[in-house]
């Protein structure tokens, strides 16, 4: 269950920026923090790393968001999986016992 914090830079378009803040605030996994000029602090508390990634992508694509920087991440679920397409050829070649 990763916890990450972000600095979200909002666009100069105030209406879009306000709309983005509203959308961000409506997501239960996102807690908004200080908002100074166009920069907004946010913490994302996700169920798993996949949800965390999806949230990050959603924020990046949100109208009114110009840029997203990452400040902190805590990995509570160390990776157990591997991209299935990766290195099939190496595994097939194998390592002699």
């Amino acid at each position: 269950m990763p916890i990450s914090s972000l600095v979200i830079t909002l666009t100069d378009d105030q209406a879009l920026a306000d709309s983005a803040c509203e959308s961000l605030g409506a997501r239960p996994e996102i807690e908004l923090g200080r908002h100074v000029a166009n920069r907004l602090a946010a913490v994302v508390d996700s169920a798993d790393s996949e949800a965390d990634r999806e949230t990050w992508q959603w924020i990046n694509a949100l109208p009114g968001v110009a840029h997203v920087d990452v400040v902190f991440v805590h990995f509570d679920d160390p990776p157990r999986e591997e991209s299935p397409e990766l290195h099939a050829e190496h595994r097939a070649g194998g390592v002699a016992p």
């Binding site: 269950m1 916890i3 990450s4 914090s5 972000l6 600095v7 830079t9 909002l10 666009t11 100069d12 807690e31 923090g33 200080r34 908002h35 100074v36 000029a37 166009n38 920069r39 907004l40 602090a41 946010a42 913490v43 508390d45 790393s49 996949e50 965390d52 990634r53 990050w56 992508q57 110009a66 840029h67 920087d69 990452v70 400040v71 902190f72 991440v73 805590h74 990995f75 509570d76 160390p78 990776p79 157990r80 999986e81 591997e82 991209s83 397409e85 990766l86 290195h87 050829e89 190496h90 595994r91 070649g93 194998g94 390592v95 002699a96």
Partner: protein
């Protein structure tokens, strides 16, 4: 979830919010060490500093370790480079250690399989191969080597074996930047620093996509604009990228058009009489390549000759060559003519991976010098690097086939003598003949000895040439079936390179070992080992030293200095030699500190002075030259050659290019004639093919593709093409097509209207995917000075499958 777990989670969330809030208000006093002060039930995490493992920006992270494992990463608020911020790759850097297929045992090829062997056996195998023919042995390294790792490999080869066949993958990414700096200033690396991004009025990106490749640096500029500052961003490129979206002006040029544009700006500045006559008159000379056997020294030309040669590059002629409107050339010249503006030029692979790489690098420096946009904060020509220590290890330690540490070169007798003296070697140990550069090294390796191939064994450390070399069929795959050839690969994961390896050595990575990097702005950064490497993986530096000692045990005199002592002798506080070639004793002393302190003596030879190792332990890096002040404080330098900041500029002088190739304190403004690319589209191969990187993956993806979040976000390579081109060929979005060049063929899906948008007649393929090797089709033509190949342009065709 237990109450303790819930408390801990609540605590982590509050720490995360505190970190973000501090970054929002730019509170530089906040530091995550506060977590260390938390009650044990809330945080068992211990924090330490390190530079990020990935690109050349050199962001500082704080690494949280719990139970011997990296569990958290935070941007370092105390770091000037990134001010607490990270990109999506830095966010995941801790997970790069934990892919399930980490290499954990030395493996020796036996037919089509690999057999585990002991380290002792592995070291013997390498010593056997070196001993058979030391002059036919080569090391291929990297800008991801730490400074001590590269220094040790350099010393083993040039100081021990008298063999200069050592070259890095950085030859593929920034060699043209090196030759550009040397030809212009007589010394390598940028004069400015990242502060230029905070103070420029105009930022021109020459074939550069920092929004994806150096996002934290780019966000510094975006942030200024979000606060209402006026910053004009201009993107000069062959395709639209995420960077373009943020730019007010986009100039889409033809491949090689950058050369014509730079020449055109100079032509306009002179024709209109708007160049900085005072700056040029006091600080610059003019130069052009010799007609025969051109070198980086070139030959002098007068201002009038320069003016005469450049006269034909009118805006209209440049428009023909570069494909941008003539008025855009005039507009760029007008910006440079305005001394009230501060202009920073930024570039990376677009200008370096170029058969005119040295030329375009010198020309952009020339635009800045001619216009006087140099040496004030915000006025700078600045190249970025793609690897974390391309500057520190490759350019400063000099792990190149022609170089020695400290800006020395093997061909210079006095330089060899200086190095032999510092290394305590007998006179004449260092070979005066430059070794094979990257492309020729691999060509020699892939050529049978019976056909003249002069390299039999290559030891690859910290890089993946099986994916990154151009024209892979010729320069890598041709090794198959050559019985006398032997490939040694030190790696952390299986890669395209290990597939052809004969011996694989499992390596420690990043915070599994001590390290020192040098980033793009001359900043040297140190970190300590925080966790153990998996299984029997060991430090690359130890591997090098263990081989050196084995060779000495076998009687190789090159492994001893002039006093008969081991080349890598390290003593404890009592003056006793520590057997660092034995893994169990490697961390009895800090080998990094010992090697770094020895290396420091070289850095003073070319005014790249470094502070003692312990100063870097205390800091978030320092930019060289770092000079001790009378009160004992070590002071870094932000702006070289500028009297207000550089300690080596004589008092009272505003500028001094103190390594001038002409010995008179002047920088060189070069003229280079535009020449077309070596391969251009024709009827058979009608498309331009360009290659590059993506935001989610770092270089060949060996680390980032093992991070599930990043791999899912960008699972495989693709080809970007223009919608009209696709429609003409009846190709649909997502369809698998083939790309063919005169060198090879590659199948991959099409992405239309994706992240990057090439113009009609151009396609783009990223190189991170080892299952879709775009370098099967790229060209190995290279710059005549830097020997850097051009991955950004060759001719290709698109073939509809099943049609």
């Amino acid at each position: 979830m237990t109450r303790v777990e819930a408390d801990r989670r609540t605590f982590m969330k509050s720490a995360a919010m505190a970190a973000a809030s501090a970054a929002v208000v730019r509170d530089r006093t906040f530091a995550l060490q506060v977590l260390d002060d938390a009650p044990a039930e809330q945080s068992g995490v211990r924090w330490a500093k390190a530079p990020c493992r990935f690109c050349g920006t050199g962001c500082h992270v704080q690494v949280g370790v719990e139970n011997g494992r990296v569990v958290a990463i935070a941007g370092d608020q105390a770091a000037d480079v990134n001010k607490g911020l990270l990109c999506v790759k830095g966010y995941h850097v801790g997970l790069a250690l934990y892919g399930e297929d980490r290499l954990t045992r030395p493996l020796l090829r036996s037919g089509d399989r690999f057999v585990p062997i002991t380290w002792d056996q592995a070291i013997d195998v390498i010593a056997d191969r070196v001993g058979m023919a030391p002059e036919r042995f080569a090391i291929y390294g990297s800008g991801q080597w730490t400074i001590p790792e590269g220094y040790a490999a350099q010393k083993l080869m040039k100081g021990g074996l008298g063999n200069n066949h050592i070259d890095p993958n950085a030859r593929l990414c920034m060699a043209s930047a090196v030759t550009g700096f040397i030809a212009t200033y007589g010394v390598d690396e940028p004069a400015g620093c990242y502060q230029d991004l905070d103070e420029c009025d105009v930022l021109i990106m020459w074939g550069n996509n920092p929004a994806e490749m150096h996002p934290v640096l780019f966000s510094r500029v975006i942030d200024r604009r979000s606060q209402g500052e006026e910053v004009l961003l201009i993107d000069i490129s062959t395709r639209r990228t995420r960077t373009t979206e943020h730019c007010q002006e986009y100039l889409e040029m033809k491949p090689h058009g950058d050369v014509a544009i730079a020449l055109g700006i100079c032509q306009q500045l002179i024709e209109r009489g708007e160049y900085d006559e005072s700056f040029v008159g006091r600080h610059c000379s003019f130069r052009a390549p010799q007609a025969e056997n051109p070198t980086l020294l070139g030959e002098p030309i007068t201002f009038d000759e320069f003016k005469s040669r450049i006269a034909k590059y009118t805006p209209e002629h440049v428009s023909e060559l570069a494909g941008i409107p003539a008025d855009s050339v005039r507009r760029l010249a007008s910006l440079f003519a305005d001394r009230s503006l501060r202009i920073t030029s930024l570039w990376c692979m677009g200008m370096n991976q170029h058969t005119m790489g040295t030329a375009i690098n010198t020309l952009v420096h020339g635009v800045h010098l001619l216009s006087g946009h140099f040496g004030r904060p915000g006025d700078a020509p600045t190249s970025l690097t793609g690897q974390p220590s391309a500057c520190g290890t490759v350019r400063e330690v000099g792990t190149l086939a022609h170089a020695l540490p400290g800006g020395r070169v093997v061909a210079n007798a006095e330089h060899r003598r200086q190095c032999e003296e510092i290394w305590g070697l007998p006179e004449g140990r260092i070979n005066p003949k430059p070794g094979f550069h990257t492309v020729s090294m691999w060509e020699q390796f892939c050529t049978p000895a019976s056909a003249g191939g002069e390299i039999d064994t290559i030891w690859v450390q910290v890089t993946n040439p099986g994916q990154t070399l151009p024209n892979l069929p010729k320069l890598f795959d041709a090794k198959k079936g050559l019985e006398e050839k032997f490939l040694i690969v030190s790696e952390v994961y299986p890669t395209a390179t290990t597939q052809l390896a004969d011996l694989i050595l499992p390596s420690a990575m990043w915070v599994e070992k001590n390290g020192v990097f040098g980033n793009s702005e001359r900043r040297t950064q140190q970190w300590f080992k925080m966790v153990d490497p998996p299984g029997d993986a060991r430090d690359d530096c130890w591997q090098t030293i263990a081989v050196a000692h084995r060779l000495m045990e076998r009687g190789h005199e090159g492994m001893r200095d002039a006093n008969g002592r081991f080349l890598f002798r390290v003593e404890d506080d009592a003056g006793q030699e520590v057997p660092i070639w034995e893994w169990d004793h490697y961390y009895d002393v800090n080998v990094d500190r010992a090697l770094f302190e020895e290396y420091r003596a070289f850095t003073r030879l070319k005014h790249k002075n470094l502070a003692p190792y312990d100063e870097y332990v205390r800091s978030r890096g320092m930019r060289w030259p770092v000079v001790e002040q009378p009160e004992g404080v070590w002071r870094e330098t932000r702006f070289r050659f500028a009297g207000f900041d550089d300690p080596f500029v004589p008092e009272g002088e505003d500028f001094d290019f103190y390594h001038s190739t002409t010995g008179d304190g002047r920088a060189q403004i070069w003229f280079h004639e535009y020449t077309p690319p070596p391969e251009v589209p024709d009827d058979d191969y009608p498309f331009w093919l360009s290659t590059g990187r993506v935001l989610e993956h770092w270089h060949t993806g060996t680390m980032t593709r093992r991070i599930p979040q990043l791999s899912r976000a960008m699972p495989s390579a693709y080809v970007e093409m223009h919608r009209a081109d696709a429609e003409a060929l009846d190709i649909h979005d997502g369809e698998t097509i083939a790309i063919e060049s005169r060198r090879g063929r590659l199948e991959l899906p099409v992405w239309i209207g994706g992240r990057g948008m090439p113009p009609m007649g151009t396609i783009f393929v990223p190189f991170f995917d080892e299952s879709k090797l775009v370098n099967l089709v790229t060209l190995d033509a290279h710059d005549p000075f830097s020997k850097q190949p051009d991955f950004k342009k060759c001719a290709a065709r698109v073939v509809k499958m099943g049609g």
